[in-house]
């Protein structure tokens, strides 16, 4: 297998993990042989997975200690159930003790697992609190989004709590998936089968242009690795400072300005136009390199 050209989008959670960290450095917590599976799936006659759809552990990345979680999007949409969520919470608790250089969340999830919806919703809120606590302690959490399920539902909120959000163009980030909106509000509101539209509303190039993603990278595992390594280095020299009143007032002003400026916007083209791309309609065709070169300040 040629490790250099592996698509992040196509890879499994375990492949992403092993390609992302320093070779041989990963050690897994609560591994498959512990069989910490979800009893709730069995109750509903749905198959279980030995890792409940998330791999968590410790590794080094470019020589720095990291804690890392990778969600498997192909197992029930990377959804968060009781065990799945608790593994991520436990990892974040561990970060408070071990103080790694960063915590990496390889998010690939539609959000709450409906088979155990209540447990999943509570778990996501516990993950939110844990991410906030870890970052208040000065440890940055990075979200990496480039899998087939993107980052939606509660995991979309968790992703935006992270100090850094690295995305590929194929990655998608939002709250309600297009299918949900189409089902409730009708196809004229959001046609979920219009793939180009879906990517203009949720995809990496739109999120980067808005500043919701802090890096846009190619859909390759080494590209995600390089971005993560670079960000870790940056936090080594400029440590994360906990959010205080002024930073949140700034963010409030930024989001209020976004709502006002794009009060009636319904398409990513309008955002790209505002971000001063020479020709917004050509943005989907740009390579990541061209895109990053042409992007001035995020809108």
């Amino acid at each position: 297998m040629n490790g250099r050209r592996i698509s992040y989008f196509e890879a499994s959670a375990r492949m992403r993990l092993s390609g992302l960290v320093d070779a041989g450095s990963f050690s897994e917590f609560c591994p498959p042989e512990m069989r910490q599976t979800s009893p709730h799936l069995a109750q509903l006659g749905a198959p279980q997975a030995f890792d409940d759809g998330v791999v968590v552990g410790r590794a080094s990345l470019a020589g720095h200690a990291v804690l890392i979680a990778a969600q498997e999007g192909r197992f029930i949409g990377g959804s968060v159930g009781e065990v799945h969520g608790a593994k991520i919470c436990g990892l974040l608790d561990k970060a408070m003790v071990e103080r790694p250089a960063a915590v990496l969340l390889l998010v690939d999830s539609g959000g709450v697992r409906l088979h155990e919806a209540n447990a999943g919703l509570i778990a996501i809120s516990e993950i939110m609190r844990a991410v906030l606590q870890v970052q208040a302690a000065g440890i940055p959490v990075f979200a990496l989004v480039g899998g087939s399920c993107g980052a939606f539902g509660g995991m979309g909120i968790v992703t935006r709590l992270c100090a850094e959000v690295v995305m590929s163009e194929q990655g998608r980030l939002g709250l309600s998936g297009p299918e949900v909106i189409e089902t409730v509000k009708g196809v004229e509101e959001f046609d979920s089968r219009d793939r180009a539209l879906v990517w203009r509303i949720t995809g990496g190039k739109l999120r980067r242009a808005l500043g919701d993603a802090t890096r846009l990278v190619d859909d390759l595992i080494p590209a995600f690795r390089a971005a993560a390594a670079d960000l870790i280095e940056r936090y080594q020299t400029h440590p994360l400072t906990p959010a205080h009143l002024d930073t949140l007032l700034d963010e409030q002003a930024r989001l209020a300005a976004r709502s006002e400026r794009f009060a009636s916007a319904r398409d990513g083209l309008e955002i790209w136009q505002a971000a001063a791309f020479a020709d917004a309609s050509q943005v989907p065709e740009l390579t990541v390199e061209e895109f990053n070169l042409q992007l001035g300040e995020p809108a």
Binding site: P32, E33, P47, A49, E72, F75
Partner: protein
Amino acid sequence: MEQFTLTLPSSTLPQDIIHTAICGVVSSGNLEVLVEPTATRNACEIVVNTSAHGFRDIWEAVLKDFAERHSVGGLRLSINDAGATPAVVSLRLDQAFETCAA
């Protein structure tokens, strides 16, 4: 879900396996296989958990073929299946074997 365990005679795996291994993902038409060492050196224990009911005969044929083709005595294979075809099952078993005996 349907669950059953088979113990199939097989020649002992010549080298001690270095690590447990997991292969595949539980998604529609696919399965995961977890390989672990056991003390029973002359047989392979296979635990199947499948969402497809009523295919035990086919499972047995595929698994017997696997235990005959490879020396897997001393291994336990645990399978979570979401309706994979026999060809996919065979492929994953071979991959799991190669990974753990590498």
